[in-house]
Homo-oligomer: 444 residues x 2
């Protein structure tokens, strides 16, 4: 991207008119990416050079940590303008993770209406649908005509975050269904609204977990999901753009977790080195402690190792192969759980499937392993290696696929069953299998 | 989910009225999930018991392989009804991967209009925007009023896949911008349309890669992305539900690839064991061949191993730790590339960052490693292990993070730089580091 390089040079040269020209030429999401990549001083500089309207658009595209960074550096009037313009749900999420004095400063700067909406959303748990929904919608009455409903949309639509999905409620605000703006526009004004209402609509509770609601929207192809309280009264809409953001974040988190990393907020290139190291070290500590099992196992079999040093030559190959097979099975299971294709109760059926998959894989890989071992050593070691590969692969596939499901059954996030964890467990047990087979075949 | 268990029992008991009652009680996406999980005979049975409207809704929710399976088992009239009802873009994607005689059967059954639309989309490459866009939209003329535009929407809207985004074109069908139905409904009928048109809209070319277009929609929060041909003429719209599907598939593929697995189509529980094994074996073969490097390295250092068998005890721990650090760095980089936070040109900056991250991690892990080694063996081996951990961690972090970016620079999908590949490469080089340090410290 030559444009990006140019901006870098403009910033290095403190070329303010040049930077302004660059900002005018680029769409908000590109500018937001540059703001997020830059260091603190430069990102604030870039942001201040934006005109008011662009500033709002760029701000909307930023991650919460970057929004926070920008707001911290702004003076009162600009600060107030920006937070007043935010959607209530975005604002609630920004405040949910901020220190108390920052929250107080934001709430104090808001108009009474916006403050009310924000405070309401802040009452819901983090990661609940309530934090992500918009309360700004157009609610229609059951007993009206298409023309009356359209008039209501025209009257109240300007303040709503979306008007494409219109929840319909009875006199006590209970959800009876939804109408799409599409059907409303295509219908005759005199028709009763009731004929257009989709009453079999799925809904989320404001206290539900937001990831589940977002995946439900993906499954059902809804643009907006109506959100209700415990008495089925309409309290908001979860819009597709927020659902998309939730899904992207959840997937990024799952991927990070599967490699034993806690998720890091903020742009990948502006996160500090120490923060990155901290996000990875906990798991690595656990894994290296778990890996001491492999050292213990090898110490137990040190007698065998001294008699046949050549056995050591194939250790990394065997534990590597077992780890790979286990990691493949675990990743497949975690992903299938996340998108809803697997259920915890499938554990026996899945384990049996994977045992057969692992056995087939082991047969194939044993050929490579035994050829290599025959060339490098002798036939007896080759036989040991081949039999070990088959047994280790079948075992690794079963362990790898079953662990995420068992985790889910006892209420642990299956993504925490990271590939490295599976690998480490399979490593130690794989070594035991290897040396037991070696004892029999080599007669040690 | 007790409902699912019940269905299972109903199917086992061949209880047709019970199954019908279950089908009537459940929403299309739940039924689709059960159809996808079931074996061939049962999935077709379930599908045949649906009424016509539900059948269409359930069919829409199925994956392409499952759609194919169902269609293959249907008689002509039902077959024709189903394919005629599909959206042209869904139909084109179904046919794109089907055998020629199946395609011919589908095209022959269609009405001329639908056949024309489908054939047009089939002209685009698989994985291009053209295959995923809908040609069924409402195109507005630049020089009209809001009232005229709304009348046009009412007239043509029933056949369009969406009317929320309305592309606006000049007299030669060139895209001048888009109008949202929201703005149209909220405006006064007498206003000129020109005032509502967003002319700075992003667009995709029909030949662009669809994943990039879908990620662009995610970045810009667009509901629908206008699609143009090489002369900037409007040819369709990419809708958010298709974009979401593309992103979910791409993420699933990336995750599969990162563990050295080719992506498998279809429901996780109904894919055959042999198919699963095949999807994993290619990478495992490559990896086990690459892992022979570790055996070669150990053979080179067999003299050292015989002098100090205790060195072998820490091999799995060292290669495991190096592999984990490398995999973490690689996954982070691949994900940041996928969501657009990293660019190939960042390789040096990223490498230097990761070298420091790896060094910090190594310092922390060396403590665990040296304590363990001191307890199990002696101080000299403990020193060897500690120094090796530090060097291997820094090296692994650099290799793991740089490889995906280098892959992207030479045009290889970075997701192919799977964690196992990084691990395997780091394993062999890590062993060399270990034994070189051992030579110096132990004076071998």
């Amino acid at each position: 991207m030559p444009a990006a390089l140019e901006l870098h040079e403009l910033l290095d040269g403190n070329d303010v008119p040049g930077i302004q020209a660059w900002l005018a030429d680029n769409p908000p999401h590109v500018i937001a990416d540059e703001v997020a990549r830059a260091d603190d001083v430069r990102s604030v500089l870039l942001f201040r050079l934006l005109d008011k309207e662009s500033a709002h658009e760029v701000f909307e595209e930023l991650d919460r940590v970057d929004q926070h960074k920008i707001l911290d550096a702004l003076r009162d009037q600009t600060f107030r303008d920006i937070v007043e313009e935010m959607d209530p749900d975005d604002r609630a999420r920004l405040l949910g993770e901020a220190p108390a004095n920052f929250t107080a400063r934001v709430l104090a700067g808001l108009s009474p209406h916006e403050r009310f909406l924000t405070a309401q959303l802040l009452g819901y748990e983090q990661d609940s649908v309530g934090r992500y929904m918009t309360p700004e919608m157009v609610l229609l009455k059951e007993h009206s005509t298409v023309g009356e409903a359209l008039a209501r949309v025209r009257e109240a639509g300007a303040h709503a975050e979306t008007i494409y999905t219109l929840p319909v409620a009875d006199s006590s605000r209970r959800l009876t269904g939804i109408v799409s703006l599409r059907d409303l526009v295509l219908a005759e004004p005199g028709e009763p609204l009731a004929g257009l209402v989709d009453t079999e609509v799925v809904r989320a509770h404001a206290t539900d977990e937001v990831e589940a609601a977002a995946r439900l929207m993906q499954d059902t192809n809804l643009l907006d999901l109506p959100v209700v309280d415990s008495e089925d009264r309409v309290v908001g809409l979860l819009t597709i753009d927020d659902a998309l953001e939730v899904i992207e974040e959840a997937d990024t988190e799952d991927i990070a977790r599967q490699y034993g990393q806690s998720p890091v907020e903020g742009h990948y290139m502006s996160v500090r080195v120490v923060t990155l190291a901290r996000s990875r070290i906990v798991w690595l500590f656990l894994l290296i402690v778990a890996a001491t099992m492999t050292a213990k196992v090898l110490q137990v079999f040190e007698g065998e190792l001294e008699q046949a040093t050549q056995l050591a030559v194939f250790i990394p190959l065997l534990v590597g192969t077992g780890g790979n097979v286990g990691a493949q099975a675990a990743t497949g299971a975690v992903r299938a759980l996340a998108v809803g294709e697997l259920r915890p109760g499938d554990v026996l059926r899945l384990g049996w499937r994977e045992a057969r998959v692992g056995f087939l894989l082991g047969l194939g890989l044993a050929i490579v392993g035994s050829v290599l071992a025959t060339v490098m050593t002798d036939r007896e070691i080759a036989l040991t290696v081949a039999l070990s590969i088959i047994a280790i692969c079948a075992w690794a596939a079963v362990v790898g696929s079953a662990m995420p499901l068992l985790a889910k059954q006892v209420g642990i996030d299956p993504a925490v069953i990271s590939a490295p964890l599976v690998t480490t467990l399979v490593d130690a047990t794989g070594l035991v299998i290897y040396f037991l087979i070696a004892r029999v075949v080599l007669g040690l």
